[in-house]
Every structure is written in C-alpha cells, then in structure tokens.
C-alpha cells in the first residue's frame, strides 16, 4: 500500500534518478544525444557518464530512497491504518507523536551548507556535504518511518535498529578505521623520519597504557572514558588535519643509490646434466 511517506520517498527517488541522469549526461560533454542518455542509464556501460562522483551520489540517493519506499509500502503492518485494517478494527489506533530529539536536521543543514560553501571552495567539500546529505536523508527517513510505526517509542527504536544497524555498524566501523588511518598516516608522513618512529611508537604505548589504566581502575567512570576518547579523537583528527595542511616532509635526498645490478631481464636456463 502506497501511503504518503512512501510517496514522498518515491518522489525523492525519482528526483534523484532524473537528477543523476541529467547530471551524468550533462557533464559527459558529449552534447545531447543517445549516448548522453544511454550512458547514465546503463551506469556508464554503454556511453559516457560525466562527473562520476556527483552521478553516483544522486544515483545512490535514488536507490536508497527507492528502496526505502518499496520497503515502506510492503510493510503494511508498520502503518497504523493498515494494521487496523488487518485486525479489523473500527478505528485507527492512535499514534502519538515522536518524543525523541532529532539531530538529523541540524546535521542536514550543516551538510547543505557544506555543499554551498564547497561550490566556492572546492570539490572535496561538496563531496563531503553530499555524503552528509545522503546519510541524513537515509537516517532521517528511516527514523521518521520508525517513529510512526507503533505507539511505543522503545519498540520503534528497535524496529529502526533492526533495519538500520546492519548498515550503521559496519559502515560506522569502517569510517572510524578510515579516519584514524588517514589521520595517523598523514601525521607520520608530515613529521621527520625520526619523529615518525617516535609517533608510531608512542601512540600505541599510550593507548596500551590508558587501556591498562582503565581496566585496573574500575572506579574510572564511563564519562571519564568518554572524555578520554573524545580528547584522543580530537587529537588524532586535529593532528591529521594539521599534517595534511603541512604536507609531506621533504624527501631526504632519496634513498641511497641502491644496488647496481641492473638486471634487465631474468632468463632462466634449465641446467642440463653433464655428459
């Protein structure tokens, strides 16, 4: 059953899709023709797609919104009215408005701002903004849907979790790893070689030490640990950004000339036994 929420999502999907095709075709620089349409339609298999990043993001929006839409409309029982029908109730059960705070609009606004600012500053920021917008769209939509599912906020939360956790947990974990790796490797690249040893040796030692500390001191509170993590995260990220801005260290005159056996090719002669 297609209700208003899914209608909205389908519209969003259509918008994303058309947007992707137009954008992909327009940036392909192929003029207007069959290729310009075929390319984006076939994911670039036949014909051309211009700017891949924007295209993929729009397509991603379309796919995820479409998926959510289908998902919503198959879930008749997620909808109070539908449930009522199924159960043969006279009146639609009351669905109280959600009570939780919703941060997504704020993040959405920031992302949108990033896109706008990015237009002026650089592609990296646009991408960041678009990623943010996509995440917001998906999260918000799923939450909006889940919040209306039943009257019980806790249950709603669990429904949302069942659906979103499979994405959030792995992608979130991957994101964390990627951020740490990027930041730390940037720091290593920026500091002088000896410094890299120090950083590389010290950071794990600190982590290990703090871990041991927390474990041996059960009195350290949850919030203290959180604060520690926050500080560490800020340090790593800050260091990473600073290092990225500073750029890589100058190359120390390259490596020593290396060995001189310029082996041109390796030809293997099979040994024959002597007579």
């Amino acid at each position: 059953m297609v209700k208003s929420a899914s209608k909205f999502l389908f519209a969003l999907a259509a918008f994303g899709f058309v947007g992707a095709v137009v954008y992909g075709g327009a940036t392909a620089g192929q003029g207007f023709g069959m290729d310009a349409i075929l390319g984006p339609l076939t994911f670039g298999y036949k014909g051309y797609v211009g700017d891949h990043v924007g295209y993929a993001l729009l397509m991603g929006l379309a796919v995820s919104a479409g998926f959510l839409g289908i998902f919503l409309s198959t879930l008749r029982d997620a909808d109070a009215e539908a449930s009522a029908q199924v159960l043969g109730l006279e009146s639609v059960p009351e669905v109280p408005a959600p009570v939780r705070v919703n941060y997504w609009p704020v993040i959405g606004a920031f992302s949108a701002a990033a896109v706008v600012v990015g237009m002026a500053v650089g592609a990296g920021m646009v991408v960041l903004g678009l990623v943010g917008l996509t995440v917001v769209a998906v999260e918000w939509a799923s939450r909006a849907w889940a919040d209306k599912a039943t009257g019980d906020a806790e249950v709603n939360q669990s429904i949302r979790d069942r659906f979103m956790r499979p994405f959030e947990v792995p992608l979130g974990s991957a994101l964390i790893v990627a951020l740490i790796v990027l930041a730390v490797s940037r720091i290593l690249l920026a500091v002088p070689q000896v410094g890299s040893y120090i950083v590389f040796g010290l950071v794990p030692a600190v982590i290990l030490g703090l871990g041991a500390l927390v474990v041996t001191r059960p009195q350290i509170s949850q919030s203290a640990i959180a604060a520690m993590l926050l500080v560490a995260a800020l340090a790593v990220l800050g260091g990473g950004i600073a290092a990225a801005i500073a750029g890589e260290r100058a190359h120390e005159g390259g490596h020593e000339a290396g060995h001189e056996s310029s082996l041109t090719t390796i030809t293997i002669l099979i040994p024959e036994t002597a007579d």
């Binding site: 796919v63 198959t74 009257g151 249950v155 979790d161 069942r162 994405f167 792995p170 390796i266």
Partner: protein, 667 residues
C-alpha cells in the same frame, strides 16, 4: 534493554498483527518457491545443487557437442577458431566447476547429515549460502556469453596467454570472477561439512563406524578446504594483472609464467580427486547393497581414501612435464605420481572383492557402479602411462590426455553419480526410476561413452593435439574423429532418454499412487531408516549407533551357525517420519541476499567500480542482517530466549540435535 523480538504494541488493548516484524521477521516455513529461496534444509539444498548442476550439464554438453561437430571432419566450419577456443574453454570449466563439483556437493549435502544421524548440517544458513554463491558464480561465468564472449584460454588458462595483452576481451575476467565466487562457495561448504561430520555424529557413531561415503566426503572437503585458497590466490594475481595493471605475469619485467602453472595445478590436481572421491564413496555404499555383503576391507577403503587425499598434494607438477622444470623435479613428480595408483588400486580390488562371492542383483545402480570400476580403471591406467614422464612429453596436450580425463571424469565420477541418482532417487523423491529403462539407458550410455572417448586414445597417440579447432585431411585423424562424434551424439541421446525416464517414472508413480517403503533396496545406511521421501526433520529420534551399517544389523543378525538371518521386519526398525516437537532451524532470507551481491562485485570489477559499491552494500547488508537475525521464527513459539551468539553462525542446528535420543538399542 529493548528486546528486538518483542511483540509490537499497537496501542492499548490491541493484539499484535500476525507478523510483528513484517518482512524483517525471520521467514517461517513457506510453501512454494519462496520456501525454496529461504530454505536452510540440507535436503532441499542438496536437491537444488543437483538441479543446478544438471542445468549446467546441459550447457556444457551442448558445448561438447559443438566441439564434436566441428571436429567430425577435417577442416570443419561449424565454429571459427575464436569461437572454438571459447567453447572448449567454457566446456571444460563448466563441466568441472559447475557440474561435477556441485553434483558431488549435492550428494554430500543430502546424505551426510542423514548418514551420520544428524538433524541438519552444522551451519544451515551457511549451507544455503554456499549454494546461492555457487549459483552466483555459475551465472557470472556464463554471463560472459551474453556480455562479449567466453573465456578463451583453456580451463587452466596459462599465463601469459591469459593476460589482457593476449586476450583483450573480458572472457577471462568472467572466468576469473566466476571461479573466485564458486571458490567462496566451495570454501564455505567445506568448513560446514567438515564441522558437520566431525561434530554432529549420532551417539555411538565413531569415526570408524562412519559409512565410506562419509569418509570420502570428509577427505574431499579437506582437500577442497586447502586447494581452493591456492586457486584463489592465483586468481587474485591474475585479477590484479588484468584489471589493475600488476606485473605478476609480465615477462618483460622478469615475471615467470610457470608460477601460474604451479599455483593452478597445486589446486588442479587435488581437484581431480575432489571430483572422484565422492563417486568412490557412492559406489562403496551401493555395491554392498546389491552384493548383499558388507564392504570388503572397510579400514583399507578408508585409509586408501585418506592416502589418496594426502598423496594428491604431492603430484601436481605431473601436468608440467614438458614445461621445462628440469630433470630433478620431473623425476620426483613422476615417481610420486605413479604411486598414487597404489591406494586407488586397493579400492578397485576391494570393490571387486566385495562383489566376489556375493549374490549380485544387477539393478541399475550396480550396473553403474561396475561401470565406474571398469571405466575408471581404463582412465587410471592411461594416467599411469602419463606418469612415465618421458612418455608424457609425447602424450601431453594430445587427445590421449583428453581420453584419460574423460574416462576418469565421465567414466568415473559421472557414472558413479548417475548410479547414485538411481539409488537414492526414491529416498529423495519418493518414487523409483524405472529399472527396465534404466538398464537400457546404461547400455546406450556405455556404448556412446566408449565410442566417444575410446578413439581419442588412438588419435592422441597418432599425434593429434588437443585444443585445435581444426585438423588436416591427410594426417590419419579423420575416421576416429567421426566415430567420436557419433559417440557423442549417442551420449546426448542417452541423456535425453534419462530425462524422459525421470518424467515417465514420475508419471507412473503418480498413477500407481503407492507409498514406497523407506527401504526399497534392503540397504544398510541410516538414511534408509526413515521414510521415502525423507521427512523434513530427518529422524524422529536420533539413532544410537553401535557398529558400521547399524541399520542393516538391526534387520539382520547371525544365528548360531554364523549365517545371516532376518531378526526384525524393516518396518519395525524404521522410523515412521511422524516425529513431533522437533524444532528445525528457521529459514532465512539472508543467504540469498548476501550471495546476490557477489555477481555485482564481479561485474563491477570488470565494467564499472560503482557496481562494486552496490554489490558491496548488498553483501554487507546480508552479513549484518544475518548476524542480527533472530535465531528462530518468532511464530514458532519456541520458548527459549533468542540471544544467540551473534558473530558466529547459527548454532541452532547443533542445539537442536539434542532432540530425543533413542532410549535403548534395538537388539
């Protein structure tokens, strides 16, 4: 903490709808095609493996017929050189990876839990996963035909001919991706079945009380477990070379093409035993039934199987006798190869000894079993002549080799499998295949088979190289090639006949509407203790095993004079199939979801990395959806709490093994 499976309240005083989690509930046992897609029942999965393999067999068979048509006469014009190369490559690849291996998997899936007395395999969802992943791999491999042409480098695809420089179309990429994916399937299956055999045996079933088929399957799965990653590593190197410009096989930068050959054959040779051992196991089950004697020398059968499994790792380079490894390596591998004939010979002779002195009832399964014993011996003997490496430099890459491996693969593996179909068909589908037609079919197949592949010995020794799309008029090749083509058509007809037999027997059985006993052959294994077709829950109570061929010994025992007499009616020692309260693992969507992501990753690597992203997302969803899936269908109303370990696969099957056990032994 919120429980994820709690009933959703619709508001005060409203009952929960029937499916509280909508599509996110774990599916219940659904009838129809949905039931098949979400099934985790090892029996259904076994059937699907078999059906898919038969389908691919038709494809591979049509490719074979094209080969034979092209070669029926000199200077054939049926296929171009280019197309011929694709057709024979895909023929070999399809037959090996999408026919023989999955038929083996089909038998193992169906029979292993039954023969060890288990409720299901150790990881039922992973079992479903390995089937769907296999199917995905087969689809990726064959999608090449629609997306620009098949692989054209031969089934072992030697470097550097498999590089983009020499094979610029995407055929080999499909081959590579397809086989990496089927490799994942084999690996998952291997882990699953090994754990099943090691861990889920019924009480009393010690290792040396396991049926020979279980043993051979265990050896096979261990070989797969260790062989597949070797192929995968080689294929990753190739993938990096072809798609990302690595230099693993770039000779101009110093690479050595023999690396590929070694890696391939380290996989490739164990692979040939992976293909034959399940068939060996099957006939070891069938021959005693029709000889009405126990298998001769059970421990020798077991240990020779294990020996083959071990020795199979030490002979791979016999495929490279002409590759210039140098005399020392050649000599070592030559001798090692010969000795693998010893354990194999033990098997052959023990089968004959089992028949010796027996009361042979030549039903179709026995015909096929004897067919295997004899035809495989022919192939094995030509194998030994290859092992004589100086002679192999004359034989290698000729039709003499083609003759060898069709004798062992078709005359060995496939004969065993077809016999197995006749034998276990009633257990699986509840009706017997026609005995009369089965026998006629056997003889047609036998004649066709020998007409096709027998002459290839001669052709090879006369110097006809394999993998050639054409040959010359005046080289003495014409006559035998024509004979081989005629033989191939006869094989084709015999398989059409086989399909007809299935249909006919089914119709007759439906018309007769009789209920088949659970033990139509008066057989020996535990699987015959339950009704035909096997009920979803396998055993009403988990049997307790006291010796090899336990079921047989419940029916028969020796009297004072040492003669075997019947001590119980079959029906009395069989299970009725009406067990209740047996809790089965719930079906699941996630295996097929996860598997469906893989082709996109494969195609994505070839065409456009964005597809990979899509495929990756599907896979991740699949994995985490799987992990977070409740262990049971909420409707099942099963009492125990659902906090199953989440990072690992379901232990449900294992848990459920704790079904009622037989209280007392029968005798």
């Amino acid at each position: 903490m919120a429980t994820t499976d709690g009933t959703l309240a619709l508001g005060p005083g409203v009952d929960a709808p029937v499916r509280p989690m909508g599509v996110f509930a774990r599916p219940g046992s659904t009838p129809g095609w949905r039931g098949w897609i979400t099934t985790v029942d090892h029996k259904r999965i076994g059937i699907m493996y078999g059906a898919a393999a038969l389908f691919f067999f038709l494809i591979g068979g049509v490719e074979a017929l094209l080969i034979r048509l092209q070669l029926a006469a000199p200077e054939g014009k049926v296929l171009s050189a280019d197309l011929y190369n694709q057709v024979y490559t895909m023929h070999g690849t399809t037959m090996i990876f999408l026919v023989v291996m999955p038929i083996g998997a089909s038998f193992m899936n169906y029979l292993l839990p039954l023969q060890v007395g288990a409720r299901d395999v150790a990881f039922p969802r992973m079992n479903a996963l390995s089937f769907w992943v296999f199917l995905a791999g087969g689809i990726v491999l064959n999608s090449a035909w629609l997306l620009g042409g098949g692989a054209d480098g031969g089934w072992f695809n030697y470097a550097p001919n498999n590089g983009v420089m020499f094979s610029p179309t995407h055929g080999i990429d499909f081959w590579n991706m397809g086989l990496i994916i089927t490799g994942i399937s084999s690996l998952v299956g291997a882990v699953n079945l090994i754990v099943t055999v090691l861990n889920l045996r019924a009480p009393g079933m010690t290792l040396m009380r396991m049926p020979v088929f279980v043993w051979m399957s265990l050896v096979t799965q261990f070989m797969l477990l260790f062989a597949i990653p070797v192929l995968t590593s080689a294929q990753f190197l190739l993938l990096f070379d072809r798609l990302f410009g690595a230099r693993f096989f770039d000779v101009s930068q110093g690479a050595d093409p023999l690396l590929w050959q070694h890696l391939f054959w380290i996989f490739g040779h164990p692979e040939v035993y992976i293909m034959i051992l399940p068939a060996f196991g099957l006939i070891s089950e069938m021959i005693p039934v029709f000889a009405r004697k126990p298998i001769f020398g059970y421990p020798f059968m077991v240990f020779s199987g294990i020996a083959i499994g071990f020795m199979g790792w030490g002979v791979w380079a016999h495929h490279m006798f002409a590759s210039g490894m140098g005399p020392i390596s050649v000599a070592a591998f030559s001798v090692a190869t010969m000795f693998i004939a010893v354990p194999t010979g033990v098997k052959i002779l023990n089968w004959l000894a089992t028949m010796w002195g027996g009361k042979l009832r030549f039903d179709t399964p026995l015909l096929y079993s004897v067919g295997l014993v004899t035809m495989f011996t022919i192939g094995g003997l030509s194998g030994v002549t290859h092992a004589v490496s100086p002679a192999d430099t004359q034989q290698t890459d000729t039709y003499y080799i083609v003759a060898h491996f069709h004798y062992v693969l078709f005359g060995g593996a496939l004969f065993g499998f077809v016999g197995g179909w006749y034998f276990w068909w009633p257990k699986v589908f509840g009706y017997k295949l026609s005995e009369f037609h089965g026998k006629v079919n056997f003889w047609i197949l036998m004649v066709g088979f020998n007409l096709t592949f027998g002459p290839m010995h001669i052709l090879g020794l006369q110097g006809m190289p394999r993998r050639t799309y054409t040959y010359r008029d005046n080289y003495g090749f014409n006559f035998w090639n024509l004979v081989a083509t005629i033989g191939a058509v006869i094989i084709g007809i015999s398989f059409l006949y086989f399909f007809w037999i299935i249909w006919k027997s089914w119709k007759d059985a439906k018309a007769a509407n009789a209920v088949l006993s659970g033990d139509p052959w008066d057989a020996r294994g535990l699987e015959w203790m339950i009704p035909c077709p096997a009920p979803a829950h396998n055993f009403d109570v988990t049997p307790t095993v006291t010796r090899l061929d336990d079921f047989w010994h419940r029916k028969y025992a020796e009297d004072e004079s040492g003669r075997l007499i019947r001590v119980a009616e079959t029906a009395d020692v069989s299970m009725k199939g009406d067990g209740t309260g047996v809790h089965l693992p719930s079906p699941s969507y996630w295996p097929i979801v996860l598997a469906s992501g893989l082709p996109f990753i494969g195609w994505g690597l070839i065409f456009n990395l964005w597809f990979c992203l899509l495929g990756g997302l599907i896979v991740i969803t699949g994995i985490y959806g799987w992990v977070m899936e409740p262990a049971d269908d909420p409707e099942a109303g099963h009492g125990h709490e659902d906090d199953h370990p989440s990072d690992s696969d379901d232990s449900s099957a294992a848990a459920e093994v704790a079904a009622p056990e037989e209280a007392a032994l029968v005798d």
